[in-house]
């Protein structure tokens, strides 16, 4: 079998003190106005992690308030603002940009052996728009934080006295940030693949980003116009959603979910891509069912547009509409489940290395299985009537978003950390962090399934005292989760200074990003490598060199 790249520049691993994209240009302005996708990705990473910390802080405050029914540390209104901001920040500032903008920006062009994305200036604009959108959203915090829930349902959102307009406008701007990223990725993958890289030799991470980008481009404009309509309704009272002016409040829900359901696939499909990269590399084996996994991402993206009404079974929507939405929702479940089976089968008879990225990937498989299965509960129309707007839903989406998307994000962060920082994180600390995060998220969210099925509604400040023990357990889990993330942040930060120097290919990956140095030079590759094999082929042609702490081609090794 041919080595991964027949004529690629096999770059000998250099120390990170030599010129690379981080050191090439100096000064703050060289970062703010950079056109280098790697720098843009790093800026996104820092911003997204900061927003994650902020949203996480709000979550901890929410959970602390819920330690006892009624007042614990804050009043009704503050609590309502807190859960709203937690949701809005996490959805719009963290998870939707998350993997594509932070990891995808850095890694995807490298995986294509390209010098950059198709439109570097648009990429920078996308980041600047994120900042502007974030500022608008945070301005709402400063004025009178929005308290509508991240879903902005009318007529509450058009009549409440909190600062809805800045928050909604911030989300509107963030939409454009997302569209630009998606547009860029689609064109890059169509027009900038290297010689020999057919579509079915694309890494699964790229397939995932491509499917996600399609959703970003097609769905995000709809939330844009919806938020604009809501803002205009609130300021000018044109009467689209307000029943006293002849409008229909349920129409808002249709518009909102038309985007927001595909949006959850924007959140999870990139996570699938990351898992699809980690599992073969850490099992030293080709992925099982590559074509299926690739195409199923597209299928999920497409079907995701047809199921928005499953958020509205009890809204007064017609039975017929609900039935169609329920049926198609079940359709999506099947390819998703099969992906999980494919990933596990990849591990069969593999050679499994349980480093931190793999631990996160395994955590993902468990947590996403639970999250996905509980989605099936909610797709059943009659059962959803009982479960809608209860903690069951909260637990379901936290399992898939927190447990799915964030776990995969953590896995990808650790997997590619050596590549874009040039440093290794401390493995022991990584494993402890992963364990704490895994434990934390299960202890936080599993009790919430029980709360929900027993009838505890969501967005509740006050609650029946009988629900308290489960809430306390959930809060303890949340603190554990927080500690896990704090630990992770700490050792990652420390590794930037004190970490071991990373080799070009510490994990033995066969995709092209491992062909350049860690960190990569500012130009990525002198020349696009010619690709003659699949992205998960040829692990047997790599061997580990302990001296450099990374893999090198077997042929050029002179040691035993």
């Amino acid at each position: 079998m041919a080595s991964p790249s027949a004529t690629a520049d096999v770059v000998a691993p250099r120390s990170s003190s030599s010129d690379n994209y981080l050191t090439h240009d100096k000064g703050v302005l060289s970062w703010i106005f950079t056109l280098d996708h790697k720098r843009i990705g790093v800026m996104y990473l820092c911003s997204v992690l900061f927003a994650f910390a902020l949203g996480g802080l709000f979550a901890l405050l929410v959970r602390t308030e819920l330690l006892s029914p009624g007042h614990t540390i804050m009043d009704h209104d503050t609590y309502n603002q807190m859960f709203t901001l937690h949701g809005a920040i996490m959805v719009f500032l963290v998870i939707i940009p998350g993997i594509p903008a932070a990891l995808g920006n850095i890694i995807m062009p490298l995986q294509l052996g390209a010098k950059d994305v198709a439109f570097p200036r648009m990429n920078l604009a996308s980041y600047h728009l994120w900042i502007v959108g974030a500022l608008f959203m945070l301005s709402s915090l400063a004025i009178n934080a929005v308290d509508t829930g991240w879903t902005f349902y009318t007529p509450y959102s058009t009549t409440t006295s909190t600062a809805v307009v800045p928050a909604a406008f911030g989300a509107f701007i963030l939409g454009f940030s997302s569209i630009f990223t998606g547009l860029n990725f689609i064109v890059t993958m169509h027009k900038m693949r290297p010689p020999g890289m057919t579509w079915f030799r694309l890494p699964l991470f790229c397939w995932a980003l491509y499917s996600t980008a399609l959703i970003q481009v097609l769905a995000t404009p709809v939330i844009g116009i919806t938020l604009l309509m809501m803002i205009i309704e609130r300021t000018v009272h044109i009467g689209i959603f307000d029943p006293t002016l002849g409008g229909d409040p349920v129409l808002f829900q249709h518009f909102f979910w038309f985007y927001s359901h595909p949006a959850v696939y924007i959140m999870i499909v990139p996570a699938f891509g990351v898992i699809g990269e980690i599992i073969p590399v850490f099992s030293r084996k080709r992925i099982f069912g590559y074509k299926f996994i690739a195409i199923s991402s597209l299928a999920i993206a497409f079907l995701g547009f047809l199921v928005w009404g499953h958020h509205m079974f009890v809204s007064g929507q017609s039975v017929l509409a609900g039935t169609i939405f329920s049926a198609i929702t079940f359709l999506i479940a099947i390819p998703t489940a099969i992906k999980v089976f494919n990933w596990i089968t990849t591990m069969y008879k593999g050679v499994i290395h349980l480093d931190t990225p793999m631990l996160y990937a395994l955590a993902f498989l468990w947590v996403f299985t639970i999250g996905g299965l509980t989605g099936v509960f909610l797709a059943v129309m009659s059962v959803d009537v009982h479960l809608h707007d209860t903690y069951f839903v909260v637990a379901h989406f936290h399992y898939v978003m927190m447990g799915g998307a964030i776990t995969a994000f953590m896995g990808g962060l650790h997997y590619w950390w050596p590549k874009f920082t040039g440093k290794m994180y401390p493995e022991k600390a990584g494993r402890i962090g992963a364990t704490l995060v895994f434990l934390g998220l299960n202890v936080t969210f599993f009790p919430q399934f029980i709360l929900g099925s027993r009838g505890m509604p969501r967005r509740y400040y006050n609650y029946l005292p009988e629900f308290q023990p489960l809430h306390v357990l959930s809060t303890l889990g949340a603190y554990t989760l927080g500690i896990g993330f704090l630990l992770t942040a700490f050792y990652l930060w420390k590794s930037l200074k004190n970490g071991k120097t990373a080799a070009a290919n510490p994990w033995g990956g066969a995709t092209l990003e491992w062909q350049c140095s860690s960190p990569p030079p500012y130009y990525n590759f002198h020349k696009a490598p010619v690709v003659s094999a699949g992205p998960y082929d040829g692990y047997e042609n790599l061997m580990y060199d302990e001296a450099i702490g990374g893999y090198i081609p077997r042929k050029s090794s002179s040691s035993t």
Partner: protein, 327 residues
């Protein structure tokens, strides 16, 4: 030949002088000497002009797709409302000036022609003609905005504003457009109004005139005979009288008539913002075209801007009949 602005941040990256340029497809040789490693206006991350152009083309089509989806939300709201309240739309369209709308339609069509032509000019490096066509495009776009301004001004003046600011100064049957189309109905509405006013003066409590849908109007004054189809049908369709009217005692307007104007200003306003954006882009391209930047190897920006402009035009082609030409 001046440096294209797109090269600015990337020239710094090329100081290393690395890499041989890949053979240029699309027919014309690269000028290595002018800053870019592959040629002027060839970004460093593309290998050939053709690749750069193809990427840009796919990019602009995707962007246009997002624009279509963006507007689709409004078209959807329009459809839902018109389905639920057709009388509001019939009522309101009389207030729109169809002539001005038609002028705007022609103006945009002409500008689309000159925009398309300018692409050809760029491809053939016909600098003077290119500049002229862009100028005409911009002029037409500005004309569109001026006409729009006057239309909006009239609406403000006539109290035709969205939401609670909706206080029309004229009754619909007093409008020229209504009188022209339905003279009998206009006259009939006048008569009914006068009768209602007289009754108000005569009695303290208003009496509900029996104005049921499609049935004979039988005011208690007993002055009028049974009205004809021509007299009442346009009024019922427009929600002036009948079950959808606000005021059961006399001709008025349909409930929530302001919703139309909310949708009208939102859709035409959003469209207008896109026209303004287009003007800005074309001015920038005008400056670049004047410097002679575009030629057979590099005409992408003109092509993409023209495509955008065609979409802006197309959206207007849908807006015009949907708002102005309602039956």
């Amino acid at each position: 030949m001046s440096e294209s602005t797109s090269q600015s941040a990337t020239t710094a990256a090329q100081k290393g002088g690395h890499g041989a340029p890949a053979p240029a497809h699309g027919g014309h040789d690269a000028h290595g000497a002018h800053g870019g490693h592959g040629g002027p206006h060839l970004a460093h991350h593309f290998d050939t002009y053709q690749q750069q152009f193809d990427a840009g083309k796919l990019g602009i089509w995707l962007f246009l797709l997002t624009e279509v989806l963006f507007f689709s939300g409004l078209f959807c709201a329009y459809t839902v409302y018109r389905g639920m309240h057709p009388e509001v739309f019939v009522y309101a369209h009389y207030f729109l000036n169809t002539t001005m709308g038609a002028i705007n339609t022609c103006v945009l069509l002409i500008s689309s022609l000159t925009a398309a032509w300018s692409v050809r000019n760029a491809q053939l490096a016909q600098r003077k003609l290119l500049v002229l066509n862009i100028v005409i495009t911009i002029a037409c776009a500005c004309t569109f905005m001026v006409v729009k301004f006057f239309e909006y001004e009239h609406k403000f003046h006539d109290g035709l504003l969205p939401g609670p600011a909706f206080h029309p100064t004229e009754q619909v049957w007093e409008l020229e457009s209504f009188k022209h189309k339905h003279p009998e109905a206009a006259e009939y509405a006048e008569k009914l109004t006068k009768a209602a006013e007289e009754k108000d003066k005569a009695k303290a409590a208003p009496v509900a005139v029996a104005v049921a849908a499609g049935s004979a109007v039988a005011p208690e004054t007993g002055v009028f005979e049974k009205p004809t189809e021509e007299q009442i049908e346009p009024l019922i369709k427009a929600g002036v009288i009948g079950p959808m009217a606000e005021d059961p005692t006399r001709p008025s307007k349909p409930r929530n008539a302001h919703v139309f104007f909310g949708i009208y200003f939102f859709m035409t306003g959003l469209h207008g913002i896109h026209v303004l954006g287009g003007i800005g882009v074309f001015i920038w391209l005008l400056l670049r075209a004047n410097k002679g930047e575009f030629g057979p190897k590099y005409f992408g920006p003109i092509d993409y801007a023209a495509l955008y402009w065609h979409l802006v035009d197309l959206i207007w082609i849908y807006l015009f009949p949907l708002l102005y030409l309602i039956h």
